[in-house]
């Protein structure tokens, strides 16, 4: 019988994030499907509040690795803590959210435990009495369903693939896990993030706006209008609170010393070497819709595009609607209709 461990960490505010709660749903579903018990393992500076928030999840035990050294996200201490949690639980299957913190350390933890890891899984079910994961390959160009013999099996769950459960609060009794002595040579200095009103990357937004290189190209008057482009894009974001993405070609322009849209960085890049966001709606503007970019749209449910080229990639079955029109004019009118 498998021994399932749900492994997670609280966010800075002490609560479990949405991705963590989605992974909990995945773990509970797996346990139910296998007829197995599961336990909870939490790591962080202080995890009692997080444990209490899911105390009624049905876990047989709550293991805790906590302390000042674990308040910050760092490979050496996180890996040691996760390893200790897995060993304390005797886990054969570990289900964890694919957060940046756990994505960094869990493959190494799997190695320490003599097991294997499958990351960014978008599905977790049971077939033939064994866990079955789905995950994407070749940058969202194909999907596989797979199982494995090796144990322990560490599975990280991609965001927005399971429904987070609520109303699981109560009072959890924590079993403290002995942590091995680790002398980290890494000091966490802090987080750099734009101010809330300047942040244009919004994973929680319902909508994604993608700006392509066409915004900085010469327009019908033979001139480029980057300031006007910036006004349309930022105006749209202000009105809709959408998240902003970009094509690789547009963010690369800044690296080549060209005058471009200063608020775009490689963090905004969507596509083969960029992000794969999971917004419900996506609007691509002045963007070519070629495959290396569009692979990043795999999980965008509703897609529309504005492009002057009726034969662009979006027209080839990659968007629901392609508006063959001047994005400068369209977005100006859209912003006017959206109002202030």
């Amino acid at each position: 019988m498998e021994k399932i461990l749900y492994l997670a960490h609280p966010e800075e505010n002490g609560a479990l994030g949405r991705t963590a709660l989605e992974a909990l749903a995945a773990a509970r579903g797996l346990a139910a499907g296998l007829g197995a018990e599961f336990s909870v393992g939490l790591l962080g500076g202080s995890v009692q509040a997080a444990a209490d928030s899911i105390a009624a999840c049905g876990a047989a035990a709550f293991f805790a690795a906590q302390g000042e050294a674990l308040a910050a996200s760092r490979y050496s201490t996180d890996a040691a803590a996760c390893e200790a949690l897995c060993r304390a639980a005797g886990a054969t299957v570990v289900v964890a959210p694919a957060t940046a913190r756990l994505a960094r350390c869990l493959p190494g933890v799997a190695q320490r435990l003599g097991g294997r890891v499958d990351s960014n899984c978008t599905g977790l079910t049971v077939e033939g009495g064994a866990p079955l994961v789905s995950r994407w390959y070749y940058r969202q160009r194909m999907v596989a369903a797979q199982t494995r013999e090796q144990r322990p099996w560490v599975i990280t769950v991609a965001p927005c693939c399971f429904i987070a459960e609520e109303n699981l609060g109560g009072s959890a009794s924590l079993q403290a896990v002995a942590l091995p002595a680790v002398t980290p040579r890494t000091e966490v200095l802090g987080i750099d993030a734009p101010a809330a009103d300047e942040q244009t990357i919004r994973p929680e937004a319902e909508m994604l706006l993608v700006a392509g290189a066409g915004w900085t190209k010469k327009q019908a008057d033979g001139q480029s209008h980057p300031e006007e482009a910036a006004g349309h894009i930022l105006g749209f974001l202000e009105r809709t609170k959408a998240s902003l993405g970009s094509s690789k070609s547009l963010v690369d322009l800044s690296g080549e010393g060209q005058s471009v849209l200063p608020f775009l960085t490689h963090l905004h890049q969507v596509g083969q070497t960029g992000a794969t966001p999971r917004h419900k709606k996506g609007l691509a503007t002045c963007c070519h819709g070629e495959e290396p970019h569009v692979v990043g749209w795999r999980f965008i449910t509703e897609r529309r595009a504005v492009n002057l080229d009726a034969g662009c990639g979006w027209a080839q079955g990659k968007a629901d609607v392609l508006y063959v029109a001047d994005a400068f004019a369209v977005m100006a009118k859209v912003n006017e209709l959206l109002g202030k």
Binding site: S76, C105, R141, T273, E290
Partner: protein
């Protein structure tokens, strides 16, 4: 402070290629995989450019590119990569597709790294992509680090700033478009790069010729890599579902288009 920077990366199909899964003798594979045009994995390529940039700023540094892949295809890819930045190539001959285990690849890489003559582990920086455009697990570098006993690790790196005392600051991508800033006391360390901040270097034929003098012998003496997918059972490997039926709106007034978009946004 100088570094011994080992960049790990392999080949992936050109991004513009249409891929089709087929059942191979060892598990899933790509149709006509050996015929598909290939490139160096994009994130590994960024890691290589960052390595070269760091080596340039730290005299006495060396850069190796260690690759597990089919040597015939690696040779083709190296014709292009060799012109970008100076490096020494180390090759393990074996499959490099998405359906090969990260643990196997890491073990082969570890074997190759351990075999690098003159490598000084106290100056070692293990660079690679934080994920690959094939398997995409984001696991190989961490496993490699564990095999080599390197437990200062960073993933999603966009910036490394060395200090004179051998320490360096790192910026790693985290959720919501932010960065986690850390300071590491020094090598050895593992860094899985995202895109970094450097553009792709222009082709430099002189660098290319210099590199190829060592690349060809490296390819010829490549040892076989024991990599596969033992223990994994693939129940299905499929292409995504049917394409969307795109409605193309042409010759419509801007006002009408804008109204429709706003209705959709609000809907």
């Amino acid at each position: 402070m100088s570094y011994h920077i080992v960049v790990c990366g392999s080949i992936v199909p050109d991004p513009l290629q249409t891929l089709e899964p087929v059942a191979g003798p060892g598990g899933p594979a790509l149709k006509n995989e050996m015929m598909l045009p290939a490139v160096l994995d994009p994130w590994a390529a960024h890691a290589l450019y960052e390595a070269a940039n760091l080596a340039k700023a730290a005299p006495g540094s060396r850069v190796w590119l260690v690759s597990v892949g089919p040597k015939a295809k690696l040779q083709q890819v190296m014709m292009h990569v060799a012109q970008k930045v100076p490096f020494e190539l180390v090759v393990m001959d074996g499959p490099a597709g998405g359906f090969v285990e990260a643990a196997d690849t890491a073990a082969a890489l570890a074997q190759a790294v351990e075999g690098i003559a003159g490598l000084e582990k106290d100056r070692l920086l293990l660079f690679g992509g934080w994920s690959s455009a094939s398997r995409g697990t984001g696991a190989t570098m961490q496993i490699l680090g564990e095999l080599l006993g390197v437990t200062e690790q960073f993933q999603g790196v966009d910036e490394l700033r060395p200090a004179d005392d051998g320490s360096f600051e790192v910026k790693e991508r985290i959720e919501g478009g932010g960065y986690l800033r850390s300071r590491c006391a020094g090598a050895p360390a593992v860094l899985g790069w995202a895109t970094g901040n450097l553009p792709e270097p222009p082709n430099n034929p002189q660098v290319g010729m210099q590199n190829m003098r060592l690349i060809m012998p490296a390819l010829q003496k490549a040892r076989p890599a024991a990599v596969g997918a033992a223990g994994v059972a693939y129940k299905a490997v499929e292409l995504p579902g049917a394409r969307r039926q795109t409605r193309i709106v042409k010759d419509a007034p801007v006002d009408d288009i804008a109204r429709e978009i706003v209705e959709w946004i609000k809907g």
